[in-house]
Structure formats: C-alpha cells, structure tokens
C-alpha cells in the first residue's frame, strides 16, 4: 500500500474505538467449557453496514440482521458459536428473533438496533434455554477493557486455534480515529462477495452509504480473496459499526481524509483475512499468491483465487515441494485470458518459470523457503496491468482429520 496513511495500534481491539464494549461467556452450546456466546455494545446507536454470504441457503440470523440493518444503524451485536442456526426452518427463525429480543431487553436498546450472528454445525436447533440464560448474563460481562474484547473474540471461534484481531489509528480532521475488527474463520472458507463472521468497530463519524460502499470495496480485496477449502458458508457475515465519538466531520468519499480512512479500514480487513487464512483448518502455513500482468484486476483476482484454491498446490506447499507445474496448471484453468508463452513464476524470491519455460533453480533453497510459515507464490502474466493478491493455507492431514468427523 506504499506509504501508509494509518498507524497500527499494538494491543488494540474492537473496544479501542470510543463508545464500544464487548464480552463473552460459556452458555452451553459448545461441549467444552469454551466461550460460545458474545456481544458487542455501543453506548450510542452506531452507523452500521454489513455484507452477507452469497450462498442461496442462508441461515436464520442473516434474515434477522438484514431487518435490523434496514435503517443503517446498530447498537449491539449478539453472536453464538457451536450452532449455525442454518436449515432450521420456522423454529430457527423464531429462535433468531428471540436472541435479538432478549439481547435488546437485557442491553436496554431497541430490537431493530441489534444484529444476530451464529456459527457452528448446520441443521440443529439452538438450545434456547442455554442461549436465553446466557444472554441474561451478558450485560455484566461487557467491558471496555481488553478483557471484554478477549472474551468476545474467544466466544465466536469454532475450529479456529487463535483469535483474530486488528486495530489501526488514522488522523481525520486532525482527530485520532480508531478502526478495529475481530473475526473467526477456519473451515467452509471461500467467501464469495461476503465473508466469514467478522465484526468491525470505529469511532469515526461516517455517512451510512459511505460505510456500506467502503465495506464492499474493502471486502473485495481482503475477505473475498481468501480461501481455505473452496466451500462458502451459509452464515458468512461482516458487520461494521461506527460510533462517531471521535468527533470528526462525517466521512464520505469527498472528505479530505477519506483515503487515509479507507486505507486503514482496508488494512484491518486484510489483517483479519490473512489471520483467517493462516488459521485455516489443519493449516501449517499462510500461502499468499500475487498475480500481476493480468488483463484486469478482476482477471487477476480470478487467477489468484484459482491458484490459492488448488488442492494440488496446497498439498505441494504442505510437502514443501516446489511443484510449479501445478501452479501454471491452475493459472491455465482459471477461465481468464492467459498467454501460454509469457508466464513467469517465483516461489519466494526464487525464479522457477520464465516465459513459461522451466528455470534451473536451487532445490535446497526452495525447500528451506517452503518449510517457512509463510509462502509467497508470484505469477506475472505479462499481458496487462491487472494485479491481485489472494491468501490461503496448505492442505494437510489435519484438515482431513478435522473434517472427517466434525459432527461427532
């Protein structure tokens, strides 16, 4: 991103922007004692925006959240893990509405200002006695301290191994504006004009349309550029809430500090997206595929996602095998314009293919590089100016182990 117009906030989280608190607890949906219910609360109604899964099969909470977001405002989000409340019919819808109503009642906000999100197994009804008892206990767990964000971040995880957080600070009208996010990912990760569960907070004043537009743009180059397994969830949801308490003039695309805000916002999305990819089910490393020289950015994105999603490429990375033949095979099947004679491929800084011809390279150096915890594959098509970056992970024995018996 060249010279960055924002500053990373070490130790920052979703409660760092002014006005936000968060919390989480164990209500009984997960078998272990891990947190499985959480909430984010804003002390004022926040300008809000969201993007959702494009899967035609959508979970009940998405319907409820869409309703709440019709006026572009939210004051709270309530989330459970351990159960996706998807394919649960009329009862599932009623349960999602009950989650919203109970959260609104206990937090003292309007029902229409509460969003609901769920993640976990598909096709089982929520244990509503656990959920309602848990929601009743949430308000006293909310905190504007780091522990509140920690509890929330833990409460949204499923097969994730680590929490995912990011926070940056931007100067807007000479004031410090903070942007933060929390996310969960792990499996069924192939966002398609949407994303996994992710929640962003900012204290910026911003126009609702501008926030929605920025959320879509940032999603296209971050959350929509990751894949773990090519499967798109029924529950994907990304919600952003802006409290406005930073005191800046409301942001919109013509605002003089819009670019800085957009860069910081996109950076938070990128950090969360990379964290989801690195913590993909069974993953041992983060894989980054950079495509340049495509006929357009859209074309570059399609090619980057095809390479990052190739089971053969992912298996080779797991095995630290510099098998560029699988990379170019994926490039060629992406359905995008490719000149079969002009493709360059690098693995890390090691050139392995130039003008579509193999280059003799140091296999030992490649092996050492591929054994690292981050692997970058660069493809230059020499056809145009289109660029894109996609993130994913390797395909491992543990991915199979985790998914061979997820329900049991």
């Amino acid at each position: 991103m060249g010279q960055m117009k924002f500053t990373a906030v070490q130790g920052g989280s979703i409660i760092t922007p002014k006005g936000f608190s968060a919390g989480g607890l164990h209500c009984g949906l997960k078998k272990s004692e891990r947190h499985d219910l959480g909430a984010i609360y804003c002390e004022v109604p926040a300008v809000a925006a969201a993007v959702y899964t494009t899967n035609l099969i959508q979970a009940a909470p998405l319907k409820v959240t869409r309703e709440s977001l019709q006026d572009g405002r939210l004051q709270a989000v309530v989330v459970n893990s351990g159960n996706a409340n998807a394919c649960t019919g009329k009862q599932g819808e009623e349960d999602a509405y009950t989650m919203r109503a109970e959260a609104a009642r206990h937090l003292g906000v309007a029902e229409q200002d509460v969003a609901v999100a769920s993640t976990g197994v598909i096709g089982e009804l929520l244990k509503m006695d656990c959920v309602t008892a848990g929601i009743a206990g949430l308000p006293k767990r909310l905190s504007g301290e780091a522990s509140g964000a920690e509890d929330f971040s833990q409460a949204i995880l499923t097969t994730d191994l680590v929490k995912k957080e990011a926070c940056v600070s931007v100067r807007v009208n000479g004031k410090d504006v903070t942007i933060a996010g929390a996310a969960k990912g792990s499996g069924m990760i192939h966002p398609n004009m949407a994303t996994m569960l992710a929640f962003m907070t900012t204290d910026a004043a911003i126009e609702a349309d501008a926030l929605q537009q920025l959320l879509r743009q940032a999603t296209d180059v971050t959350f929509n550029m990751i894949t773990v397994d090519g499967d798109t969830s029924t529950n994907d949801m990304l919600i952003a809430m802006a409290s406005g308490l930073a005191g800046n003039d409301a942001l919109h695309p013509a605002h003089p500090d819009w670019e800085a805000f957009a860069e910081g916002f996109t950076y938070v999305c990128q950090i969360l997206a990379q964290a989801i990819a690195r913590d993909g089910e069974g993953a041992t490393k983060l894989v980054e595929v950079q495509v340049s020289g495509a006929v357009s950015d859209l074309s570059a994105r399609a090619i980057a996602k095809t390479v990052i999603g190739s089971s053969l490429v992912k298996s080779a990375v797991f095995g630290a095998d510099a098998n560029w033949g699988r990379v170019i095979a994926a490039v060629g099947r992406a359905g995008e314009p490719v000149n079969p004679e002009t493709v360059d491929i690098h693995i890390g800084d090691i050139s392995v293919l130039e003008g579509s011809r193999p280059v003799a390279f140091d296999e030992d150096a490649a092996l050492q590089y591929l054994k690292g915890d981050t692997v970058r594959i660069t493809v230059d098509l020499h056809q145009g100016d289109g660029i894109a970056t996609a993130w994913g992970c390797d395909l491992t024995y543990d991915y199979v182990r985790i998914n061979a018996a997820y329900r049991t």
Copy 2:
C-alpha cells in the same frame, strides 16, 4: 438408461473390436519397472475423433495430435506415462513430433495417422533416448490378445492403482459391433469439456462427424461429470478410433441403430469415468451425486459437480459422517437457481432433509451405509425437470500424502 440396447462384454478390452492390437513396455521414464510406454494400432486407417483439455496451458503432444486429427483419421496412438511433456517449450514440441515420427516409422504408417499422448510430471524434458529405444521395441509387443491390452492399460497409469477398461457389444444392421475403452486418471482430475487420458476403439463403420459429435455428447455426461480434486490437467485427451471392420452401414444420427450405438458408447465412457473417480488419489470409495428437479440439465450438472467437488463433503464421506449440512451448503453456492425451501436430500436410501428441513434418521444405519465402498447422495430441488449425475471420491489422508511429495 432404462432398457439397455447393448451388452457388456466380460473380459473385453480395446483389442476386442476388430482390427485393433495394443502393447506396452518399460522404457525408463518411471523409476520403478512399471510399463511407461504403450501403443494402440489399427490394421486399417480408422475414423477418429478427440476432445482435449480446456486448460489454456496445453502440453506439447496435444498440438501434435490435433494436427494428426485434422483429416479425422488415425491408425495408431503412442502414449508415455511418467512425464507430461508440458511446459517444455520448443524442445518439448520437437520431442512430441519425434515420438510421432518414430512411431510412424516403426509401425509402418503415415505420420499424420499417429496421435501422441503423455501423462506425468509437468516441466521436465522427456528422456528421448529412452523413448526412441522404447518405440523401436513396441511393434513386436503389439498383440491382438488380452495381454496386449493389459500391457497398454498398465503403460498409461501414473498414481492410478488399477487399470480402467470397459467393453460393450451392440447390434447394428444385424451385425455385432464392439465398443471398448481404456483410461487413466487419479489426480488433477476435474475435466472441463475434456477428460483425462482415455482411448476408445470400435469396429463400427461410422461417419467422422458423427463420431466427433457423439464423443462430445458422451463426454459431457460422463468424463466431464467426475472430479477428484478440482484441478484440470494440461494433458487431458480422449481419443476414439473406429476401424469399420464390423461391416455395418456407416453410422450417423439418422441410422436406425444410432441410438443403440450411442447408448453403448456412452456406457463405456461412463464405466471408465466412474473407474477414474473410484481410483482417485487416496480414495477409499466412489461417491455418486444425483441431482433432480433442477431448472435444466445444465443447472443440475453444475450443482452435482459443486457437491461432488466439495472438500467438506468429501472429508465427511471419508469419515462416514452423514453431514448433509455440507451438501446443502454446496448446493446453495453452486451459482444455480435453488429454492431454499424445497430441497430434499437422501444419503443412500435414507432421507435426511425434506423441504429443506432436517429429518430425524437412524444414525447407525447411515454410518453403516457410509462405510460401504460406494456412497450415493441424492438431491431433489423440486424446481424443474433437470437431472444430472456426477462421480467423485472421498478426501483422505492418503490424498495429502500422495500430493505433498509427488515430485520427490
């Protein structure tokens, strides 16, 4: 296919149709002593047709074979395994032309009547001393007996565990016409308007255009409906050769026995396609996904291929987990019209979802069924008359093991 208009020929193979012989040997491309070079020979120039990979990166032998097939005739096919001769530049093209020339010389046929195919690792030059010495030895290995077909079938395998063959007999003009095929598959299997290496022989007299048209139609509902890993090879090729020695009037779509011939031809393709799916890298079972009630056959095909290609569905089948949530999630992301309220799913004969609502089912019975060596998943969308069937395999530890270190 309802009442079948053809008869399976037990023990039949590509040499069963009149006029064909085949053979194979070890020339030194594979490290083990397994066969790695083979040929099919027809005693007369045969009417021939082919379909190729749609990957834009295409291996050198495909260019040579396209040239040979310009006149719709072939008399021989020479194939090597252990090296794909893909991404090998000018030298790779020269090597493919040399393979064709040497095969033509030693078999005593015109160069333009020889097709060349290769399969194996991408990006390494063929050891041409091995190949040319091997081709010189091929004519005396050719046989019209079963051993010749066996040698050929072994010579085209890579990570395949078993050979793939099929043979049927059809009555045309009161004469027995035989149709047979041999194929290899295993990894990088996601044919896209093309297929893996497969070779069909028939002694039918048939018009060249009719054979090409039939080959495409049969491919669409057989080879193009399988997936192992979603990766499309650079070397996919399906070649059909018709000797005409059965003595029937030349077949074309208006011929009274066309339908019987087409059914038998398609059946051979289907058996080979299923065999490729069942023998997918690391696979422990064949998975069949039947979709009905889609808005069109094309839509049903897209949905069936999305389900069969889902890593999550494949892992669940490996773990014998009746995780229908992953099936409906795949249905919903296929990019095709789906009514989220009217989906039925069966696993084997066990109903697990009706009208998109979970059905209580006997988990033990489902477990027993899923432990079998063939698993059928049936999806009814209740939206139209479109139907399709796709074949694949489970995703296993062995798939990861095989592909983590393929080159080494």
